[in-house]
């Protein structure tokens, strides 16, 4: 009769379990409410849409997954059955995977004795293009190459800045942040303005002095543009890593005889590895998710080869097709592939970020830098190198500013029309998109501040089972490709019943405002949350205990004690979220169908041919980004984490 005792114990342990849960809930109901509601928010607006995409990628019918809302519970009606057809088709198609490279393709093509139209000179055209290996392979290659080059440039600069002292260093520290200020699309435009076939460099420098016209095509163009922007991310990460290495670790090694390159290789580099690794993976993910660059390289220069990446392919099949608004199953499969890369990358980032902590043993000494003064020759070399990088990187920004004022290459004329357009409330004007941009971004930031502060607090202060997953949920959006999320929202909210019985969440007809704000909130959440974390780490928990002790509930203490103390962090994080929201591209392009609801970036995407207009918007976004960058530098001491969001 062994059954009886077992039954008794299971019964009591089950009731114990429930008692424990009830007690836990009763003790701190507000925390649990927050945890559950924020989790629910992310489940609806992050997890579910992505699951839909993944399911669709492996289902037969076009309308495979139909979301039916029973009050607040999504149910998925799945027509059609599980299939690997789409996957097989994609993976076996030469369009997507072509290890041998596309036929009749080249890496570099040199055509001599051409007449350069802009100057009438006889020049040699050099087309630098990476071979087309198929859309999926291309995307991976773009990621790897961009990361590689960004790594080389970014790490060298970081090392120089962290370890050497030379005149003008402070100026460069500020300057090195400028390449971060490249809003979407603008990179591609600036690139074509400076280095396009009719670019300023070709027109005034290369053709004149070198007798060459250099044209970057396809993948090469994308990698070039991305590197110039992303190297700063790596630079920030590695720089902060290097600064945070406990100097005594290096000193000990030196003491034992290691020096110079050996020291770097055996001690410094491994200790900085977590920062290097996390920065690189982030760049890898972001490079593969970039939608703006292919769109604008194609629109501005007609370079079709630049569209052979996953993001553009998805975008094209969804939006640009005039005939329908269904989602091509190939697109969903590609989306699932991209998503896979991103999520895997994300978890690697987390692992390395956690590792970062080990090299910062005694925080007290972290402020002591091991800077070394360098001789005159070395100083000159360093300054030259930095100037070169800086100039090339900011070529893009110069180009954009220039083109916003002198839009026509054929008839160069200074005009402020593109800026006056901001006040034009008419159909061609930018007032409506500007207003929409501000409205959506501010709305989203407002929501983000409240949710992120609570979420960050709960994730950081309260111990509960699944805390680490909760934290992952809050920060994973940074890695989720916007275009995949956009597809997910599309499938989830259009053609399906309405959530909560209210229409404003559906895309029918054409009213995406609220869902756009939610998408911005979700996608930019990690920045604010990370800033809140940083603030909370600096705030001793004892201050809250003292308040609770005297009668404040946990959330009253959060409001009256903690929030004022981390207000700078919250504002800094919110500012970053705000600015990035203003430049959001992917979900905006997918969800906004009505010109009247479009944002500035939407406008840019639909007017890729109008360079002056694009550049003016770009300049505006750049100014906003610059202001926010310097404001957050001031508000948040720890740049890398907040700005990059990891």
């Amino acid at each position: 009769m062994a059954a009886v005792p077992i039954l008794n114990t299971t019964k009591s342990s089950i009731s114990d379990f429930f008692n424990k849960i009830f007690r836990e809930l009763k003790k701190d109901p507000l925390s649990w409410f927050f945890i559950l509601s924020i989790t629910a928010f992310f489940v609806y607006f992050l997890v579910v849409p992505l699951i839909i995409i993944i399911i669709t990628a492996f289902t037969t019918e076009n309308f495979a997954v139909h979301v039916r809302w029973i009050y607040i519970f999504p149910t998925f009606d799945i027509n059609g059955s599980f299939t690997l057809e789409t996957m097989k088709n994609v993976l076996s198609s030469r369009r997507f995977i072509q290890p041998g490279g596309a036929p009749l393709d080249y890496m570099i093509r040199i055509e001599s004795q051409q007449k350069y139209p802009l100057t009438g000179q006889t020049v040699t055209y050099v087309y630098i293009k990476f071979k087309d290996y198929g859309i999926i392979l291309n995307t991976i290659i773009v990621g790897i190459l961009t990361t590689l080059f960004s790594l080389i440039i970014g790490t060298s600069i970081a090392f120089i800045m962290a370890r050497y002292k030379f005149p003008g260093k402070v100026i460069f520290q500020g300057l090195m942040l400028l390449p971060l200020i490249v809003p979407p699309f603008v990179g591609g435009i600036g690139f074509s303005v400076m280095i396009g076939p009719q670019g300023l460099l070709n027109q005034y420098v290369f053709s004149k002095y070198l007798g060459l016209v250099i044209i970057f095509q396809g993948i090469a163009g994308i990698v070039f543009v991305q590197t110039l922007h992303f190297f700063t991310l790596i630079y920030l990460n590695v720089y902060s890593s290097l600064l945070n290495i406990d100097p005594s670790l290096e000193e000990q090694a030196e003491n034992l005889g290691a020096s110079g390159f050996r020291l770097f290789r055996t001690v410094t580099f491994p200790l900085a590895m977590p920062g290097i690794a996390s920065g690189s993976i982030l760049v890898l993910i972001l490079a593969m998710e970039d939608l703006g660059t292919p769109i604008v390289l194609y629109g501005a220069t007609g370079d079709n080869a630049a569209t052979k990446v996953i993001t553009y392919e998805i975008y094209n099949t969804i939006i640009a097709g005039e005939a329908d608004a269904r989602i091509n199953p190939q697109a969903t499969f590609l989306g699932a592939v991209l998503l896979l890369f991103a999520i895997v990358g994300f978890f690697f980032i987390r692992k390395y970020v956690a590792l970062r902590q080990y090299s910062m043993i005694s925080k007290g000494r972290a402020g002591n830098t091991r800077e070394r003064k360098v001789g005159v020759l070395a100083s000159i070399g360093i300054i030259a190198f930095l100037m070169a990088v800086f100039l090339i990187a900011t070529l893009i920004q110069f180009g954009i500013i220039y083109r916003s004022l002198v839009p026509n290459a054929q008839n160069p004329q200074l005009t402020f029309d593109n800026y006056k357009n901001f006040f034009n409330t008419g159909a061609e004007g930018l007032w409506i998109p500007l207003k929409n941009t501000l409205m959506y971004s501010f709305g989203a930031t407002f929501i983000t501040i409240i949710l992120a502060t609570i979420a960050g607090y709960v994730a950081n202060r309260k111990k509960f089972p699944g805390q680490s997953w909760f934290d992952a949920l809050l920060t994973i959006p940074i890695a989720i490709p916007g275009i995949v999320l956009g597809m997910g929202y599309w499938k989830m909210f259009s053609n399906s019943g309405s959530l909560f019985g209210i229409d404003w969440l559906t895309l029918n007809p054409l009213n995406p405002v609220l869902i756009l704000m939610i998408s911005y909130t979700v996608r930019r959440f990690p920045f604010t949350v990370r800033a809140v974390y940083a603030g909370l780490q600096q705030t001793d928990e004892v201050l809250e205990e003292a308040a609770m002790n005297l009668g404040a509930s946990r959330y009253r203490s959060l409001l009256e004690i903690v929030t004022p103390l981390i207000s700078f962090n919250i504002i800094g994080g919110a500012l970053i979220s705000l600015v990035y929201s203003m430049g959001e591209v992917s979900t905006t392009l997918i969800l906004v169908l009505d010109r009247n609801k479009g944002t500035l970036t939407w406008d840019m995407a639909h007017n890729t041919g109008e360079i002056g207009r694009l550049c003016a918007i770009g300049v505006f976004l750049m100014i906003i980004q610059a202001i926010s960058l310097f404001a957050t530098n001031f508000l948040l001491k720890n740049r890398a984490e907040a700005i990059t969001g990891i």
Partner: protein
Amino acid sequence: MEGVRIENITIKYDDFTAVEGVSLHVKPGELVTILGPSGCGKTTLLRSIAGFVTPVSGHIFLEGKEITHLPPQHRGTAMIFQNYALWPHMTIEQNVEYGLKLKGVPKEVRRKKAVEMLKLVKMESQIGKMPTQISGGQQQRIALARALAVDPDVLLCDEPLSNLDAKLRVELRTEIREISKRLGITVIYVTHDQSEALAISDRIAILRDGELQQVGPPLEVFHDPDNLFVGEFIGESSTLKGVLEEQEGNKAKIRIGDAGLITAYFEEQLEPGAELKILIRPQDVNVIPNKKRADNEENILKGIIRTNSFMGDHVRVNLELPTEERLIIAERKHIEETSRMGVDVEAFVQVNPEKVLCFLEERRIR
């Protein structure tokens, strides 16, 4: 008024047991100190009374009401912390009146009370300042005022003076006691500094590895420890190994190896040959300057002086016994002679048998 009743509290962190089966009754108006070495669980115990930690089993009652599972804000306790925990973004009077603000006390009333409290801790001259503008000792006074402002049922002090220098510590500990006595507030005080505990407590509860060793007034725990740990923890002492040679009634003769034979008094009857541990405090031993006198006395131990330090009002001698154990003596009578003896010389010391504490393993033999 019932004070604080802690019944059989056990607290665990995952698999680690921080506090095991501790029971304690703090009477109203009493100042009880929980004393013990680092990591003994005293802070954990205090935090469970405050509500920051939940015990796995056991109950805590405050003024008759069970508070074991109540959240901190509903308990009626007030705590002062080791690092003061003043809110840097509020002025000191805002800090003090915060608790009253939470209770919904109107502004003028709570401001009045705050000023009153600040006067009590002698900080009314600092009104208007921010916590970052005052010293550590001053901050702790503010913290005290803040805690007292809400008329708590019990004041909990978590090593409040550990971050202050020695002189301030002495000054403030007395003030804490005085103020709490004046207001008649029950106080539970945690510290690892036994002189602090001895100085201000009505009773001391000694904790070791989460278990309660002994509770009693300072004199009692000093002179009458229940076990060897308490005996060694409180005050200075030397522990020697001895063997019981004979016992007649309550008089026992104990041999300390080749060092000598000493007498101790205890009621419990033991078998000769029992291995005992003998605790002797430095002030209960005297150095006998000349050997001749020594031969005629009882309770003499001999050894070699290894260190001999003049401390002003006494000489501190470290005597190495033939058993290789060390005996510490604080010689107040024959200061000059002892001092002159120097080191590495043989010396004789006399132990006061009435002050000798005997232990069988850990347990005190009475």
